[in-house]
């Protein structure tokens, strides 16, 4: 049983968890939007703007939690902007999402250049540090899985549990699902589909913003142009794999975190596989997952369809 305490394995497990958090948060956010009937293609851009605003806030204030808070706030604002298009203007949600992502890419790069110039020395911050659980962190498997992480990771896991409570065990979740399945029926029950969808997309933006911030203020301590690198789109695939259920999404995100951790580790070992094929791994996995578990089965009935009062 020597492999249980192997430091390489422990490092791999800890990295898998760490790398899964950004996509987990984005996918959790996507769940709220999709359950309410709005397809949030803008997750990628919301992650990126959270990544950037979180970083710059920490750089100026030195306060990590303030950075996380600002990322959540800006992400939620971006969500409201997308909701204006998707819900009020009833635009094509895919087109709007793609345009939003481009806007966030431009805005973050614009203000980053402005704040730091285009010099070669990239600014750094001191990211969140892991909490020291003492001997708990030494437990084989469980230690690296649960007891070697920073506060933001534990906050994320708490958000998964609260997401589950809200979605499956509260009337709020019931209202969101009703609006996503049949907005007309929900309205006859006295619910306001427009307000609920706005709120759900704002929450999804807030979570995606936090997920993006995790990349800059927890995982690395730097910000790079287009740092999210498609994670918002991967989150959309994870959502399907995890059946739009908080715990399902968590397991699916962990699978992707593991793929990314494996890729990073295999780069250092002489495994005889070209580097590029290893980097492809998460992207290939996304396609395989979609092909196997795809079909829109389990999707809310009114997903992607704009709702208009009094229209039958």
């Amino acid at each position: 049983m020597e492999f249980l305490t192997d430091p390489v394995l422990a490092g791999f497990i800890a990295a898998s968890v760490r790398l899964s958090i950004p996509i987990l948060l984005a996918a959790l956010g996507g769940m709220f939007a999709e359950k309410s009937g709005v397809l949030n293609i803008g997750l990628e851009g919301m992650m990126l703007i959270g990544c950037f605003t979180g970083f710059i806030t920490v750089h100026w204030s030195g306060n990590l939690w303030l950075g996380a808070g600002v990322a959540v706030l800006i992400g939620a604002l971006a969500g409201l902007g997308l909701a204006f298009y998707a819900v009020t203007l009833r635009s094509n949600q895919v087109v709007v999402g793609i345009a939003f992502n481009l806007l966030m890419l431009g805005v973050s790069a614009y203000f980053f250049r402005l704040a730091f110039g285009s010099g070669t020395a990239s600014p750094r911050i001191t990211p969140f540090a892991p909490i020291d659980f003492g001997p708990l962190g030494e437990i084989p498997i469980l230690g690296p899985l649960l007891f070697q992480h920073d506060p933001l990771t534990y906050l994320s896991l708490a958000l998964v549990v609260s997401g589950w409570l809200v979605m499956q065990r509260s009337t709020i979740g019931l209202a969101i699902k009703a609006v996503g399945e049949h907005p007309e029926a929900a309205e006859t029950l006295g619910l306001d589909p427009v307000a609920i969808r706005y709120a759900a997309v704002a929450v999804s933006g807030a979570l995606a913003g936090l997920g993006g911030a995790f990349l800059s203020i927890s995982a690395t301590g730097v910000f790079l142009d287009n740092m999210t690198a498609g994670r918002g789109y991967i989150a959309l695939a994870i959502l399907i794999l995890g059946r739009r259920h908080p715990f399902g999404v968590m397991v699916a995100a962990l699978l992707f975190g593991a793929a990314e951790a494996l890729q990073l580790r295999a780069q250092l070992l002489p495994v005889g596989i070209p580097l590029q094929f290893l980097i492809m791994l998460p992207y290939v996995l996304t396609i395989v997952v979609l092909a196997v578990s795809a079909t829109r089965s389990g999707a809310p009935a009114a997903l992607g369809q704009p709702y208009e009062k009094g229209e039958r």
């Binding site: 087109v95 431009g106 070209p274 396609i287």
Partner: protein, 357 residues
């Protein structure tokens, strides 16, 4: 309303639709620039100086115009492909990856056929690029039609895979033997597109794009296949009920987009770089999505939109050095153009509803 009156109404609507859509596009571009000017002023720079330096660099000289035309080629080729796919209801955003695959295929064929006459080499390279791009796009087609996997996500993932795959080829089997850099050997003269204008880099890819735009316009609006494409994209179920082959139309969308994006890769390799390199495209395939939308998915409109965005991109670095405005502003303007266009399309309907209720 009598039938002839409603037919007349449709005719009037059709006649006025095109000029109005052009006007609305121009309006959105102007508004996006105005918002961009506010962003420039907000950071204490001069918007007039910034925009003047931008367009001076891209349109103010023969060389600037040539560079803008060069940049138009890949944007328009990818944009027209994406527009035709959108028309069929296929949300193919994989042009970026298809361009890389087309580029590497063109370079490989060009290197294999070294020493053959130009009339043979260039068409062979173009054909190889179009076929390779279409084949790459067909992966997403199979995933959608056989496995019902959403093409939006699969094409984005295929973009990453294509770029890393090309990276592997350029670091491995296709690497220039005499160079430590990740690139193929230089193409021989007969494998390069002819130059059009002495003293500039303008190449014959521009002619290719004009021909493609005209053919695509005729195909979309004057051919049976083009009608089928639009019918399926507009309402797949209705099209199926009238006996149309929906799958064939969807496949057309996937394959044309892949082929045209592949041709864009060919044009960049044979006309600009003269070899395959790792950074062949600074996101042409993604910008082309916005270009396709701004061009209202009309091939000639897409060509016009591509010219505008090419000018923006070519001038952006000069704007950064001359006026101190980060070049990413042009990305912001591009996104704003589309967001304004979408809002503009939706607002009249919104106000009409309000007025009725």
């Amino acid at each position: 309303m009598s039938e002839s009156a409603s037919a007349a109404a449709v005719e009037v609507a059709r006649r006025w639709l095109l000029p109005r859509s052009v006007l609305s596009g121009v309006l959105c571009v102007v508004a996006a620039f105005a918002i961009g000017a506010l962003l420039i002023a907000a950071i204490g720079r001069d918007p007039v100086l910034a925009y003047l330096s931008l367009f001076e660099a891209s349109l103010g000289s023969t060389n600037g115009l040539a560079e803008t035309a060069i940049r138009t080629v890949p944007l328009a080729l990818c944009g027209i492909g994406i527009a035709l796919a959108f028309r069929a209801g296929v949300f193919n955003v994989g042009a970026e990856g298809q361009l890389f695959i087309g580029g590497v295929a063109a370079a490989w064929v060009g290197l294999q056929l070294g020493g053959q006459p130009q009339w043979l080499v260039l068409p062979a390279m173009g054909a190889a690029a179009a076929i390779a791009g279409a084949a790459w796009s067909a992966i997403a087609g199979v995933l959608k039609l056989k496995f019902r996997a959403d093409e939006l996500i699969t094409t984005i993932m295929l973009n990453y895979i294509a770029i890393y795959f090309v990276g592997y080829l350029l670091h491995g089997p296709l690497q220039d033997p005499g160079s430590p850099l990740a690139r193929t050997a230089r193409l021989a003269a007969e494998a390069r597109l002819p130059m059009l204008l002495e003293g500039t880099r303008l190449h014959a890819g521009l002619l290719l794009v004009v021909v493609v735009a005209i053919v695509a316009q005729v195909f979309l609006w004057r051919s049976v296949a083009g009608f089928r494409l639009r019918a399926v994209g507009h309402n797949a179920r209705a099209a199926e009920n009238t006996g149309m082959n929906v799958k064939a139309a969807l496949w057309t969308g996937f394959l044309i987009c892949g082929a045209l994006a592949g041709l864009a890769g060919f044009s960049e390799v044979a006309g600009v770089q003269r070899r395959m390199i790792e950074n062949l495209s600074p996101g042409f395939g993604y910008t082309a999505i916005i270009v396709a939308l701004l061009g209202q998915t009309n091939p000639l409109g897409v060509l016009a939109a591509a010219m505008l965005f090419a000018a923006l991109q070519i001038g952006s670095t000069t704007m950064e050095s001359a006026a101190g405005v980060p070049s990413a502003l042009t990305t912001v303007i591009q996104a704003l153009v589309v967001l304004l266009l979408i809002a503009q399309n939706a607002l009249p309907r919104l106000f009409r509803k309000r007025a009725v209720s």
